[in-house]
């Protein structure tokens, strides 16, 4: 029986996290695996922490990732990535966009955005891939492509067969954004072996 793969996706409301989870789920289904996923966004439509958990394998019970933790962390924002890395299993891989989105607790309540967040992340996860996915998405012409860049890097780690990914994009992404997202996915895929250590 194949082991279950656990992917934790974290970020800020509005960043396309739910769609990323859907794409992973469909890709796993296309690979003939059982899938479970769970997502919770905070009270606000936008701007709060968003967490999505996706699990796939021959048999999956809980939609929430059990101990010892996630195999992969997709962080759409640096602070949220750092928060999420605590739920990575030993030897798990964090793939984190280094974009910083300042939370209200920093602006209004005197909290401090961790200055050394990237170093802390690397300490917690030596295999971490840190990259400015927003810049890459920007080069492609749309900030919303961040999720596909990160998915490309995840795919490069060989979690699912490549044709399943493309089929999942076709099933989940609106047609007018499909080319953009597939291009961004390819960029992530190509980037992964020597991802820029920003």
């Amino acid at each position: 029986m194949a082991a279950t793969t656990n992917i934790l996706i974290v970020g800020v409301g509005g960043q396309g996290i739910v769609l990323a989870g859907d794409i992973i789920g469909i890709a796993a289904q296309r690979a003939g695996l059982a899938v479970k996923a769970s997502e919770v966004h905070g009270m606000s439509q936008r701007g709060g922490s968003v967490v999505s958990e996706v699990r796939f394998g021959a048999e999956v019970h809980s939609p929430l990732i059990p101990p010892p933790g996630a195999d992969f962390l997709l962080g759409f924002e640096l602070l949220e990535g750092l928060r999420g890395v605590a739920r990575l299993r030993p030897g798990g891989v964090a793939i984190v966009n280094t974009q910083r989105i300042v939370p209200a607790s920093v602006t209004y309540s005197g909290a401090v955005y961790p200055v050394e967040a990237e170093a802390q992340l690397r300490d917690a996860c030596p295999a971490a891939v840190l990259l400015d996915a927003l810049a890459i998405a920007g080069e492609l012409g749309n900030a919303r492509a961040v999720n596909s860049v990160l998915l490309g890097i995840l795919a490069a780690h060989g979690v699912l067969p490549l044709p399943c990914w493309e089929a999942a994009f076709r099933a989940a992404v609106k047609p007018r954004f499909l080319d953009l997202n597939l291009t961004a996915f390819q960029r992530g895929l190509a980037l992964a072996p020597a991802a820029p250590r920003s």
């Binding site: 409301g13 769970s38 919770v40 905070g42 709060g48 939609p63 101990p67």
Partner: protein, 589 residues
């Protein structure tokens, strides 16, 4: 064909496939998407009711008319619908009647984490608890069958992780021809006067005994024997956590948790060394097991507050569970969206320094810093009654307002206004009318002019409604006009009788005209911080060094700014203004 569906989508699909004549409910996280899905399905019919009580009553009518009905709500909605529930338990049904109640352990988006299973016991109706999307589908179909077979409304209970969790579903075939509509013609069954109700109560008690016997032998009561040192009785989503936390343990998975299949539970208990009960929230199963003389371990080792998960259960069982390292990091609390019209009203209320009795909706976020402009929040519609009560307690009526959203007002605010008029209480109410049920994802309601299926509908005329209730002082303002809003609120507070201010401006998330974004004139800015005090996520502060001086300056995120210009209206130095010319808002919203 197998599909990935949320629990909510699966329930909608099952309701359609079961031939449900109507799905009816009031939006409430995490239940909302059921009716939103049902209405999109071929053959699916669904509508929003003004509140859960009306929804259940309409559903009861459909059932009495010999057709199947699904009624949906969140856990606190069942409080509102409890009155009809307790008596329709007596009458029973004609067409199948399924009441879906979605609990929110962990309070992802709720004001309490009450456990709806108590209602099933108190109202004496069967309760089904699916554990994944496939079961959400199967149990919904089964619930309609049981409803008709045992002449009872059936409660179907989900939780956030079930409703919003996704897993694979193979839907069944659609029901064939269903009985034709027929009006009720059995007064002894459907007219609950004492003489008839006494008989029906006896029926209810007998029905629950029959249901228990059914559940003892039904496939949804499933004993899975593995290692018999530990035996765990569980239900719903907790079953899945148990399977991951203790893969080798024996498990008795209950699909029906009211009435409890005690015979099956006793048989399971006899086969295992140590009996545990794993249930989210209250010890509903545990107390019944103990009452039945079974030494079950439950809340002694598993928490009563908050959500369960595999790690929590492993810890309770004394199995290895890695607790995540506790990094001290700044939180990311939810916030009113950039451009939210409520922000302006709260910034005015904050400035006036009045006591604000709040209500249920996005605007509850007015409590968050820096606005910090909410003093109470209890339940749907409570803002008005609590404001009136504060005044009756002796609080200065010119220093108290109740704030309530348009959907919440139509749900249960009208009676609060009726009360303040009738009892001559000089309460001031602000209706934050953003033209939608925003908190739950922008659903239509009787004030929006549209129904769930997007058809045009009569739109409630709020000022006319308020005047007909007897409110003589009604004003309507655009909250983006901050000075006019301030003046209207001040006038309402000063008015010696009941007053209502309608702050009317559509939710930012409703498609709207593009407004030029606001830009900061750094030379004019005195870094006074006034714009930061409105709590707009598009405005952050950063340090700027100019001419050797370091100042903390505001910065406007051009991706987030929606051009509402509320910040400009609080700036005394004209340092913030909408961009002139062609530069329009881009951004994420």
């Amino acid at each position: 064909m197998e599909e990935i569906l949320t629990g909510n989508q699966a329930i909608a699909r099952a309701a359609r496939d079961a031939g449900t004549a109507l799905g009816v409910g009031y939006p409430g996280t995490p239940s909302t998407e059921i009716l939103e899905t049902l209405v999109t399905l071929d053959g699916g019919v669904a509508q929003w009711a003004p509140n859960e009580k009306v929804a259940l009553e309409v559903g009861v009518g459909v059932s009495f008319g010999n057709r199947r009905a699904l009624v949906t709500m969140k856990h606190v909605g069942l409080n509102v619908a409890a009155d009809p529930l307790f008596t329709v338990s007596y009458t029973g049904v004609a067409g199948g009647l399924v009441v879906l109640v979605a609990d929110d352990p962990g309070m992802h988006s709720s004001q309490n984490e009450q456990d709806s299973r108590h209602y099933a016991r108190a109202a004496k109706v069967p309760l089904l608890e699916p554990a994944d999307s496939q079961e959400a589908y199967d149990f919904t179909r089964l619930a309609f069958e049981l409803s008709e077979q045992f002449d009872t409304p059936v409660l179907l209970r989900t939780s956030t992780r079930l409703s919003h969790g996704k897993s694979l579903v193979t839907p069944g075939t659609r029901a064939g021809e269903l009985p034709a509509p027929a009006p009720p013609n059995k007064p002894a069954k459907y007219v609950m006067v004492p003489a008839f109700a006494r008989k029906r109560h006896e029926f209810v008690e007998a029905r629950m005994v029959e249901l228990e016997a059914w559940a003892n032998a039904a496939p949804l009561t499933r004993a899975e024997y593995r290692d018999r040192k530990i035996g765990i009785v569980t239900s719903g989503i907790a079953y899945q956590y148990v399977r991951d936390a203790a893969p080798d343990a024996s498990v008795l998975k209950l699909g029906m948790t009211n009435p409890l299949p005690l015979e099956a539970i006793r048989a399971f208990a006899a086969e295992v060394e140590t009996l545990y009960v794993v249930e989210e929230l209250d010890p509903v199963l545990e107390e019944q097991l103990r009452a039945a003389g079974l030494a079950a371990i439950g809340k002694a080792v598993f928490p009563i507050c908050g959500e369960l998960n595999p790690a929590v259960i492993a810890a309770g069982l004394g199995l290895p569970a890695d607790a995540p390292a506790n990094l001290e990091l700044p939180g990311r609390p939810p916030a009113l969206c950039p451009g939210c019209p409520h922000r302006s009203v709260f910034s005015v209320l904050k400035k006036l320094g009045v006591t604000v009795s709040g209500d249920i909706g996005c605007y509850t976020l007015g409590v968050m810093p820096p606005l910090s402009a909410l003093d109470t929040c209890i339940c749907m519609g409570a803002s008005i009654g609590i404001a009136s009560g504060l005044i009756k307690a002796g609080v200065d009526p010119s220093r108290v307002v109740g704030v309530i959203g348009d959907s919440t007002f139509l749900h249960s605010g009208i009676t609060g206004v009726l009360d303040m008029v009738y009892n001559k209480i000089p309460t001031t109410v602000i209706i934050l009318d953003n033209g939608t049920t925003a908190m739950t994802g922008r659903q239509e309601h009787p004030g929006t002019g549209r129904t769930l299926d997007a058809a045009e509908a009569p739109r409630v005329d709020l000022p006319a409604l308020l005047r007909s209730l007897g409110v003589t002082d009604v004003a309507t303002v655009d909250p983006y006009e901050r000075d006019a809003t301030t003046a209207a609120i001040k006038a309402a507070l000063a008015f010696p009788g009941p007053s209502v201010v309608i702050a009317q401006r559509p939710c930012m998330l409703i498609p709207h005209e593009v407004r030029p974004r606001v830009e900061l004139d750094a030379d004019a800015c005195k870094a006074c911080g006034a714009c930061l005090r409105i709590g707009c996520p598009a405005i952050t502060e950063h340090e700027v060094t100019r001419d050797g001086n370091t100042r903390t300056m505001p910065e406007i995120d051009p991706l987030l700014c929606t051009g509402c210009a509320i910040c400009a209206s609080v700036c005394q130095f004209a340092a913030l203004a909408p961009l002139k010319g062609k530069d329009k808002v881009s951004g994420l919203i």
